[in-house]
């Protein structure tokens, strides 16, 4: 295969991955993409499947919030509820189109919730996978 053909072929392969994230989410995805490459030279793109596994995973950092699903429920297309009883709009971009469009808000909630649920900061890859999953639903 000629190098030029290989490049075209690679782009075609990548297209479904790029199509996952909604256009409105692209600037934030791009930001985490750059950060993920800086964190890990072997980084090869975000994955909705990895994002899903991350979202559903159970952790033992906190008895109150063992998982993202504690408040968001296991179905991101449904509304969740905080522990204090307040509704949380669905995380799925198809249901709440302005999700992941305000970088400051996105970082605020990752900062809080990663510490609450996992007990550490999330990596850029975890954040990008998460958003890619939410944008794919």
């Amino acid at each position: 295969m000629k190098p030029r053909h290989f490049l075209a072929f690679s782009l075609i392969l990548l297209m479904p991955v790029m199509a996952y994230a909604g256009a409105a989410q692209k600037p934030i995805i791009d930001g985490y993409m750059a950060a993920a490459k800086a964190e890990n030279a072997a980084f090869s793109g975000f994955s909705a499947d990895r994002g899903k596994a991350f979202f559903l995973a159970k952790h033992d950092a906190s008895p109150e919030t063992p998982s993202c699903t504690t408040c968001h429920t296991a179905d991101p297309t449904k509304a969740g509820q905080t522990r204090a009883g307040k509704d949380v709009a669905p995380m799925a971009v198809s249901k709440t189109p302005d999700r992941f469009t305000d970088a400051e808000k996105v970082e605020k909630w990752f900062t809080r919730n990663c510490q609450s649920v996992i007990g550490r900061a999330c990596t850029a890859q975890e954040k990008g996978d998460f958003i890619t999953f939410m944008a794919s639903l």
Binding site: A84, G85, K86
Partner: protein, 159 residues
């Protein structure tokens, strides 16, 4: 008949508490600060500044990284106006209602409104404790489960 008298007495008692607390009979609190409503109201109703003393709000804002089992940290920029609002509208601020502070010991720093003597006095005398554990209520801190206007500072018996 006995039942009607019972209900009547109950209503009058509730009304009496409302009047005693507000002094005016109008139980709606002043408009909530927008920054406070936006940030703190994201997870729970914006609990009235007027229902805890300054020292309580200071301790709560100083420990947002461990906020009732969750990390609720705010940037210093976001925190500043909220701090100023709570400080100037607390139960023991100049604008506060002294009745809210009744029976709060000087060395006591309640971190929940449901620990305040005025709250306990009103609720536990009239409402069965198990009502707060009902699935729809979840906790006594979910004011809006019973007070429909809670998010707007309305805690009257009809709100």
């Amino acid at each position: 008949m006995k039942k009607i008298i019972g209900i009547g007495t109950f209503s009058l008692a509730l009304l009496g508490v409302s009047l005693a607390l507000t002094g005016t009979g109008n139980s709606a609190l002043p408009q909530v600060d927008p920054a406070y409503a936006k940030e703190c109201g994201a997870c729970h109703i914006p609990y009235p500044a007027q229902y805890l003393p300054k020292r309580s709000w200071e301790r709560i804002l100083g420990s947002l990284d461990k906020h009732f089992g969750e990390n609720a940290t705010l940037s210093p920029k976001a925190l500043q106006p909220i701090k100023a609002y709570l400080d100037s509208h607390a139960a023991d601020a100049a604008s506060g209602n002294p009745r809210i502070m009744r029976d709060v010991a000087v060395n006591n720093t309640p971190l929940r409104i449901v620990e305040m003597p005025f709250w306990i006095h009103i609720h536990h005398r009239m409402i069965e404790r198990k009502a707060f554990d009902a699935p729809k209520v979840k906790s006594a801190g979910n004011c809006g489960a019973c007070h429909r206007g809670a998010a707007n500072g309305q805690f009257g018996d009809d709100d």
